[in-house]
Amino acid sequence: MIAIAISGADFLREHLRARMTLAMLVVLPALFVLVSASVLGEFAKALGGSVADDSASALGAGWAAAFLAGALGFFQVASSREADRRLALAGMGAGRVAVARISASILLGLFVSAVAFGTLWLVAGIAHPAHAFVAILIFALIYIGIGTLVGSFISEPLEGSLTVAFIFLIDAFSGPGMSGGGGIAQLMPTRKAADVLIAAGAGQSSPAGDWIAVGLTTLGALLLAAGAFWFSARPRSA
């Protein structure tokens, strides 16, 4: 347990050691929410959506957290594969490496979500802050799962970044409040989280069914992320 905690803290430090990376994690979601808060309602209407301005601004905070978390998840796997394998071989084991990695990723996701949420609160106000924060965090956690999954199959940073962006754009454009209605939009990973976030932005609670769906999706994403970390760290036979 101590080894996991120490390694998790080290992974976190490794990620935040570069000051510019830390600065980007703070500045970018804040700027995105700030710049997009006033226009996303209009954008949703242009795409045929009917989401209210406050809900669209809230959705922007979820997107900011998701996009950053997706990149974060991808680079956590893609750039640490060799080091994690050595750690596992040195006695820590792939399972504990995976738990430490997923813990660090969740903390980073929490950080990014807090920045996006805080900016949203300051810029647009939030009618249902607790639900909004949880929904934004869920966007981030789902994309940590997607990013790590991409990273476990693609190691090149350009291809991986583009794949994460590709998935994100399909998800965001087909989401509720934008163009999304039926068909493939129902299968998008953040579909239910977006429903919850839109409701929270409008000051409404979400039905229990939505929360259960969101919880299951998040759990699935985190299990996927843990699996991807384990897969990357597991020792290979020569």
């Binding site: 990620h15 570069a18 510019m20 990376t21 600065a23 980007m24 994690l25 970018l28 700027l31 995105f32 710049v35 997009s36 006033s38 226009v39 209009e42 954008f43 209407k45 242009a46 795409l47 045929g48 900011a64 996009f67 950053l68 990149a71 680079f75 750039s79 693609i154 090149e156 940073p157 350009l158 291809e159 970044s161 583009l162 794949t163 962006a165 590709f166 754009l169 399909i170 454009f173 934008m178 163009s179």
Partner: protein
């Protein structure tokens, strides 16, 4: 370009051609991003202000068609610039140690970046042309090329100064916030707000919006601004890379 630089350029292209997924993504991302954006946008009326000051009534669908090209090209060129330069910093020092001059090592990377930008631009314009035709093609293409080159240079600078991860975060967001929101006539009152003129996407976007909806060219000022951005950013990239590769 001398023999060594030419060889390095050929190797640079061969390296890219050995990455089939990258080639697929460079076509698939613009295709899906642009065609889907246009397809799902409603043709609701929209009053915009062109660079010459005249007002024009168009539709959100047409505007989205025009503006998705520089967003896509800027986004992809920025990421390509970032990772081409990271790759250069990691491996081209060896070339310099082996006898290449920094210029001979840098030039092939910049040629690869320029070519990738042109490929993305060609795909993006072809996809856009299915649904939207600009009033004046030549300046429209030039505006989009400028957006790609400016963001390619910003990506390269981010790669040289911020690092891979911070640079990736930056290039994920900056083109979206700049060209996608701040310069986008779909928002605000149909023209960029005053503060948007300070951003790198201002010049190219005003040039291409002017040429998308008007046959007369009234965006000389924004064109000069865009060229100035490109000149300054390109010089900064070359100076930084020369300094990094020569170890000073």
């Amino acid at each position: 370009m001398n023999g060594r630089a030419w060889t390095a350029t050929r190797m640079g292209f061969r390296e890219q051609l050995r990455r089939p997924l990258l080639l697929v993504l460079l076509v698939a991302v613009p295709f899906l991003f642009i065609s889907w954006s246009i397809a799902i946008t409603e043709p609701t009326p929209r009053l915009i202000t062109l660079p010459g000051g005249q007002q024009l009534l168009t539709t959100m669908k047409e505007l989205h068609g025009a503006v998705m090209v520089p967003i896509t090209v800027g986004f992809l060129a920025g990421l390509i610039g970032l990772f081409v330069v990271r790759s250069a910093l990691e491996s081209d020092r060896r070339l310099v140690l082996a006898g290449f001059s920094p210029g001979e090592a840098i030039a092939p990377r910049l040629v690869v970046l320029l070519t990738a930008t042109l490929v993305v631009l060609a795909v993006s314009l072809a996809v856009m042309a299915i649904s939207f035709a600009p009033a004046s093609w030549a300046p429209f293409v030039a505006g989009n090329l400028l957006a790609g080159l400016i963001y390619g240079a910003i990506g390269a600078l981010a790669g040289a100064t911020i690092g891979r991860l911070g640079g990736a975060y930056l290039m994920f967001f900056l083109p979206m916030m700049d060209i996608g929101v701040a310069q986008n006539p779909m928002f605000f009152d149909g023209a960029p707000q005053g503060w948007a003129a300070a951003l790198p996407g201002y010049g190219p976007t005003r040039v291409l919006i002017d040429s998308a909806f008007s046959q007369s060219f009234d965006a000389t000022g924004p064109l000069l601004v865009a060229l100035a951005w490109l000149l300054v950013l390109s010089a900064a990239v070359i100076v930084l890379l020369r300094r990094s590769l020569s170890g000073r």
